[in-house]
């Protein structure tokens, strides 16, 4: 049944950057029992006081429509774009990954980081902090590889996304 399949959607929500707007969006998701898989928010236009919230959510097609409509009716929301539907779009995530170790493991982590094009942004004799940007899958793969090599801490931004091409959203 198509109605029952759970789909994953990335939505880009342009909002007035005012007090409480994030709480409104999060409250909507928790109050109505929708899922949040990832959520990022930051001001994107200081002059117009606009912030962009990128939220990755999942649900049946009916729920996804609901989420979109519910977001749209929040007063400070300018626009809601379902990037999964209105694609093609780009998705990127950044992670800081701390690996603690010495000897061969330490060398190996550096070698893998090189392959993944992760940058070293902090180093001690016994540790590295890697900065890495890419798709969620790529970040997951990198973090998994670091696991046996002394993975100590991970901090991720969550997904930011944008339509490809000339279209604005």
């Amino acid at each position: 049944m198509k109605e029952m399949t759970i789909e994953r959607h990335t939505m880009s929500v342009l909002v007035d950057n005012e007090a409480g707007v994030l709480a409104r969006v999060i409250g909507l998701f928790s109050g109505r029992g929708y899922n949040i898989e990832s959520l990022t928010v930051a001001e994107v236009d200081a002059a117009k006081h606009l912030s962009r919230i990128t939220v990755v959510t999942s649900g049946t097609p009916m729920i996804i429509d609901q989420i979109k409509n519910q977001l749209q009716r929040l007063v400070p929301v300018h626009s809601v774009t379902d990037l999964t539907v209105e694609g093609p779009s780009l998705e990127r995530e950044m992670a800081l990954v701390k690996v603690v170790g010495s000897g061969e493991k330490r060398v190996e982590s550096l070698r893998i980081a090189d392959i993944f094009r992760a940058r070293v942004v902090d180093s001690t004799i016994e540790s590295f902090v890697f900065e890495m940007t890419g798709s969620t899958e790529k970040l997951n793969a990198f973090i998994n590889l670091m696991q046996p090599l002394g993975l100590a801490d991970v901090s991720r931004t969550g997904i930011v996304a944008m339509k490809r091409g000339t279209d604005r959203n």
Binding site: E3, A23, M62, N69, Q70, R73, V75
Partner: protein
């Protein structure tokens, strides 16, 4: 436009006057003293002093629902605001336009757990359409005007303005922002024409059509209801109403099937189940209407007209959504219908009406009459007979009496029926009734109540007496929380856990203690005389109607059952045991 600097409190008062506010329902306190001072110095708006902040919101709802205007509430910070939460939630569920002004501690104390501080915008975010914490007097006039715009636009709802005391005292110039276009919030009023065309095509092809109309028609205004009625008559299709939609189409019209839903009419529910084209106008497929979703009107194509896109496909998947205001949509439908000279399938329609008339023939509101005890249905029949030719408004509390009132009182016009539909708030009826009475001082306003519900806001008797508001409170006293008892009887083996109210007050003496008149009807023969007396007394009256304690409300769709498995009465043999899934439903 700009004027001499005045205080924030005066800015608010000016903005309210510019918005055409005539009356405010409120209760003072420390954090709103500057506002109350500014109110004292003006004479354009009236203030009604309530006895509990919840009642202030319900009163504003009654005012709003009966006039189509925005209701205004003014309460203090902390407990004033938290007490208003039930009312705000009620207004949100039933789409009633309210602007609620709450005091707040001064901005420098916010977050300090100051005296009578509560995170009002945090608490009310999920129970308002929108809310504002106004931290600067410069934003004040814009935000007050914006609050009114948001409350009444699109799908109406409650909007809250949280006003720190220092902002009320700071000085700034007032600018009238009324009528300004909003940056982000501009809901569409006019429908997409092609969708309306598709809807008309589907309606023209219908063999078993049904209009299912709701509260959105009433929010669209009396003119929209009139157009809708004209259109329904043009089609000759049957029309059922939701609890919130009663009065949107005249009950006496032969095309009206009456209320739909859990305690709706047998013919309405069967028509919902068997129709082939359902035309939902301003209703929201509420669970009280749909019953079990996977058995809801299985064979129909559905048109759904709603101003709120998030109502579309929320619980029931529809074939033709039409987003827009009922008035605009119906106007367009009518225009296209006439332009295309639509010919309905008269033969099929006649057969459909035959079927409907068979269902009607079951006379689903029939009850066992009695010469010795007052049947609640009989009490309402007598009430209806006494008021039907008068200019009347009805409010209700919540429970059995509410459903009986919906079944037995007939509404010919919109805005005459005020009830807590979505939230089901006991204690709604009395304050809502005086909200209506304030707006319509010369009309007959009756709160049909239960003895349990009325006690939830009984303190409001003092408000009635203070303002000499001649509201009539018609208590159907069966000594039980009737609807709870009914469900315990039908679903929980007759174990009446905590649903009997011992130690009820003597309502006649209670009315007198407040300074109102009290009457009692104990036998069926008393009713007509007592009702006449109630209407004739000039001031507020409380009537204690001692009704049958054991009467249940029928017809009824049992929890989890489809529309065509309605129970007609206590002796209905078709009753099936309620399923596990049905048991968990409310």
């Amino acid at each position: 436009m700009a004027t001499e600097p005045i205080s924030g409190a005066e800015i608010i008062v000016k903005a309210l006057i510019d918005q055409g506010v005539e009356v405010i329902f409120g209760y003072p306190g420390g954090a709103v003293l500057p506002l109350y001072d500014a109110l004292f110095k003006q004479n354009k708006m009236r203030h009604i002093l309530v006895r509990h902040e919840q009642a202030a919101v319900h009163a504003a709802e009654g005012y709003a629902r009966s006039t189509g205007k925005v209701g205004v509430v003014l309460v203090t910070s902390g407990p004033g605001a938290t007490n208003a939460v039930t009312g705000l939630t009620d207004a949100l569920m039933d789409s009633i336009p309210i602007v609620c002004l709450t005091g707040q501690v001064p901005t420098h104390l916010i977050g300090n757990d100051a005296f009578q501080e509560a995170d009002t915008t945090g608490i009310t975010r999920p129970c308002t359409k929108h809310n504002y914490l106004v931290k600067s007097v410069e934003d004040l006039s814009r935000k007050v005007h914006e609050a009114f715009y948001v409350a009444r636009s699109g799908r109406p709802g409650p909007v809250l303005l949280d006003l720190p005391k220092d902002v009320q005292q700071a000085k700034y110039e007032y600018v009238n922002h009324a009528g300004q276009r909003h940056r982000t919030y501009n809901p569409a009023q006019k429908p997409d024409r092609s969708q309306v065309e598709r809807a008309v095509e589907l309606m023209a092809s219908a063999k078993r059509p049904l209009f299912y109309i709701g509260g959105g028609c009433i929010n669209s205004g009396p003119l929209a209801c009139k157009m809708l009625a004209d259109f329904i008559r043009l089609t000759g299709f049957p029309c059922t109403q939701t609890l919130m939609g009663l009065g949107a189409f005249p009950a006496s019209d032969p095309l009206s099937l009456g209320m739909v839903g859990m305690h709706g009419m047998f013919e309405s529910n069967h028509a919902m189940h068997d129709c082939d084209v359902m035309i939902n106008i301003g209703a929201r497929f509420d669970d009280r209407v749909t019953g079990r979703l996977n058995a809801f009107s299985p064979g129909s194509k559905k048109i759904h007209v709603d101003i709120d896109p998030s109502s579309i496909n929320k619980s029931v998947r529809v074939d033709i959504p039409v987003i827009g205001d009922v008035g605009h949509v119906v106007e367009e439908m009518m225009r296209i219908w006439k332009a295309r000279q639509v010919k309905v399938d008269h033969k099929a329609l006649a057969a459909w009406w035959d079927q409907i008339n068979q269902w009607r023939g079951r006379d689903c509101l029939k009850y066992k009459t009695s010469d010795t005890i007052i049947k609640p249905q009989f009490a309402l029949e007598r009430l209806h007979a006494a008021i039907k030719d008068k200019d009347f408004y009805i409010t209700t509390e919540v429970g059995q009496h509410q459903m009986w009132a919906a079944q037995f009182l007939k509404f010919e016009k919109p805005n005459r029926w005020m009830t807590s539909g979505g939230l089901g708030t006991m204690g709604y009826g009395l304050p809502a009734a005086y909200g209506v009475q304030v707006a319509h001082p010369n009309s007959l306003v009756i709160d049909v109540a239960g003895e349990a519900s009325i006690l939830m806001n009984i303190q409001e008797m003092a408000t009635l007496v203070q303002y000499r508001l001649p509201v009539k409170i018609f208590i159907m006293n069966n000594k039980w929380m009737g609807m709870v008892r009914q469900w315990q009887e039908l679903l929980h083996g007759g174990r009446y856990s905590e649903s009997y109210s011992d130690a009820l007050p003597d309502f006649v003496k209670l009315a007198e203690a407040f300074g109102a008149a009290g009457l009692r009807a104990e036998k069926p023969g008393d009713l007509d005389g007592v009702i006449k007396q109630m209407i004739d007394i000039k001031g507020p009256v409380m009537v204690d109607v001692c009704v049958d304690e054991k009467e249940n409300c029928f017809p009824m769709i049992p929890s989890g059952a489809p529309h065509n498995e309605m129970l007609l009465g206590p002796d209905d043999q078709s009753a099936k045991p309620v399923s596990e899934e049905g048991m968990v439903l409310v």
